[in-house]
């Protein structure tokens, strides 16, 4: 049972180290604070007063909690969901209580009697964090069918039937004349399809993806011969980086299908992979025929597919841009530089 669950259940706990999660948490908590202030205020100046007063305790608690969650994220990730939730609620309650005690008179209001204020603040914190966690849980569940669908769609887009049949045709053409080369071609093809049809991995080694791309290009070279040339710029490529599987390959496939194939004399595809601080850049550029109109539908599908997968994995931390100048087309993808699985 557990093995089935592992496949179907998405991670319900948010990734506390993701910028998107942090931004959402800050926005939602402050929205709650604003709502509370609104219900208590009588005038506009009173509203500001209420907000300021509330923020005095709220902001330190929020920031400390986010820092602690960031630090402890791997620990929570290992716990079962409900235990992790309980642990987080306890942690946040302790943070609230601790800061409340340290602040002393600073956080009290005139109407407070005795120690009730501590209970009030801790309970408020616990309720807000539970609301937040339920929101993230709901979001993970709501997005998971999209994730599955995106995967299926990705599978379909990855194997362009045109490529499959043309490659088989090319292999058939050399079977008699060059059986050795035909063998290699079939081996490349089987590696490529094994990857495309495999269970989705969240991240794979960049070097593996590059090897796959090279096998793919060897197959295309078989058909296109000298028309297809590729220039690799990978000097500044981090050897240990991880990337989502089949992000680079579809970019190359697009470059071949829409760029090189329609050109009578072919052209050069440029691939640049480099790291800049905490970001990994993947860039693929190709010449395009000035007269031929691009087959946009297929192109856009493959690209929106990649975009969707990137945003599911990295949220706002991934960026993706397409540049189209006269006779040249390039795609630039930026993802966080990671060396461990999320």
């Amino acid at each position: 049972m557990s093995s089935i669950n592992q496949i179907i259940t998405p991670t319900l706990l948010p990734n506390f180290r993701n910028l998107g999660t942090v931004l959402r948490a800050i926005l939602l908590v402050n929205a709650v604070a604003l709502f509370v202030a609104l219900t208590q205020a009588d005038t506009f100046s009173d509203l500001l007063q209420q907000l300021l007063h509330g923020s005095a305790l709220l902001q330190p608690v929020l920031l400390t909690s986010l820092l602690l969650l960031y630090a402890l994220a791997p620990v929570f990730a290992k716990l079962p969901y409900w235990q992790a939730t309980a642990a987080i609620v306890v942690l946040i309650s302790l943070v609230t209580f601790g800061l409340d005690v340290m602040g002393g008179e600073l956080f009290s209001s005139q109407s407070d009697v005795g120690s009730f204020r501590y209970i009030r603040h801790v309970l408020e914190s616990a309720i807000v964090i539970l609301l937040l966690l339920s929101y993230f849980r709901w979001r993970a569940l709501a997005l998971s069918p999209a994730r599955q669908a995106a995967r299926l769609q990705a599978l379909q887009a990855r194997i362009r039937p045109h490529f499959l049949f043309n490659s088989i045709n090319a292999v058939l053409a050399i079977v008699r004349a060059d059986p050795k080369r035909a063998e290699t071609a079939l081996e490349d093809m089987s590696d490529l399809f094994r990857m495309a049809m495999s269970e989705p991995h969240e991240l794979v080694e960049l070097s593996k993806e590059i090897e796959l791309v090279r096998q793919y290009l060897a197959l295309e070279q078989l058909r296109l011969g000298e028309r297809l040339q590729v220039q690799w710029n990978t000097d500044k490529m981090p050897p240990d980086a991880l990337i989502p599987p089949l992000v680079l390959q579809p970019l190359l496939e697009n470059a071949v299908y829409h760029g090189i194939e329609p050109l009578t004399d072919g052209g050069i595809i440029e691939v640049r992979i480099y790291r800049e601080d905490k970001e990994l850049h993947l860039q693929v550029g190709n010449p395009v025929s000035p007269t031929g109109k691009p087959h946009n539908a297929g192109h856009k599908m493959a690209l929106s597919n990649i975009r969707e997968r990137l945003s599911l994995l990295f949220d706002v931390e991934a960026d993706y841009q397409v540049e189209r100048e006269a006779g040249y087309y390039s795609v630039h993808i930026l993802i966080p530089y990671v060396t461990e699985t999320l």
Binding site: P161, H162, L164, F165, N166, I168, N169, A170, L172, A173, I174, R176, A177, L222, R223, L224, G225, E261, P262, L263, T264, S289, T291, G292
Partner: protein, 256 residues
């Protein structure tokens, strides 16, 4: 055909942009040759090359890929129809649901890649009695604009890239095609050409279409009954009168 007549080998021409695909066809044709007398008379990797070579040698059957650079197989088929003895065309395609459906509806012969010996044999056996595909049907198959105009001149088919054309002018039953270098005559209707190339050309007169990109400006002049304006075009000194009716739609073009 009487029994004692000598049957000449079926002459076949191959057009495909991929060398292995052509090699594969030649292998299979060699296999067919055992039972079916045939002869490969040439091969080409794109439309222009095919037209040039087919002006020199005659082929009864052309085996042709659809997706090729420069121009599609369907457009090439339209140009080949201008030859004095148009060949029978058999399309080959790797994967194209749309084209396959269209071919089936119009009973056009096609082969799916990877091509099987049996299917190729059948198609060639039928080819001797087949008739070339009608141009109108090819036009239906590819409703988008052609990339080239084809001109039939002294037994040859010359291709004129549509982006080189400055204007098209109807005269009697022909249309004059003007490029910066020279003029050609084609036997087509200006109205149909206006429809096909509406993105690129604009009508300035009942009998004249002008390439929008070639318009450099306007000058006063022209005969009575016209708008009084002449279009100046890039690369040629000739100016063309704009009719009163078309002036409103034309005057904002040029110098853009």
């Amino acid at each position: 055909m009487s029994n004692d007549a000598v049957i000449l080998p079926l002459s076949i021409f191959i057009v495909d942009d991929e060398a292995p695909a052509r090699a594969r066809l030649k292998d299979l044709l060699a296999d067919c040759d055992v039972q079916l007398s045939l002869q490969v008379v040439g091969e080409a990797s794109n439309g222009q090359e095919a037209l040039d070579k087919l002006a020199e040698v005659h082929a009864e059957v052309v085996l042709m890929d659809i997706r090729m650079p420069q121009m599609t197989g369907i457009e090439l088929a339209r140009h080949l129809n201008k030859l004095e003895q148009p060949p029978v065309i058999i399309f080959t395609t790797a994967y194209d649901t749309y084209a396959v459906k269209a071919f089936e509806q119009r009973a056009i012969d096609y082969l799916l890649k990877p091509i099987r010996l049996g299917r190729l044999f059948e198609a060639l056996s039928r080819a001797r009695d087949a008739v070339p595909i009608r141009t109108e049907i090819l036009q239906e198959l590819m409703p988008e604009a052609r990339t080239h105009l084809s001109v039939h001149e002294r037994g040859k088919v010359i291709l004129v890239p549509i982006e080189d054309v400055l204007y098209l002018r109807a005269e009697m039953k022909y249309v004059t095609v003007r490029t910066a270098e020279r003029e050609y005559l084609v036997e087509e209707s200006l109205t149909a050409m206006e429809r096909e190339f509406s993105i690129r050309f604009v009508r300035i007169h009942r009998s004249c279409l002008v390439a929008k990109a070639a318009i450099v400006g306007f000058e006063k002049g022209g005969d009575e009954g016209e708008s009084g304006w002449l279009v100046k075009l890039q690369g040629i000194s000739e100016t063309l009168p704009v009719s009163r009716r078309q002036w409103a739609g034309v005057k904002n073009l040029g110098s853009i």
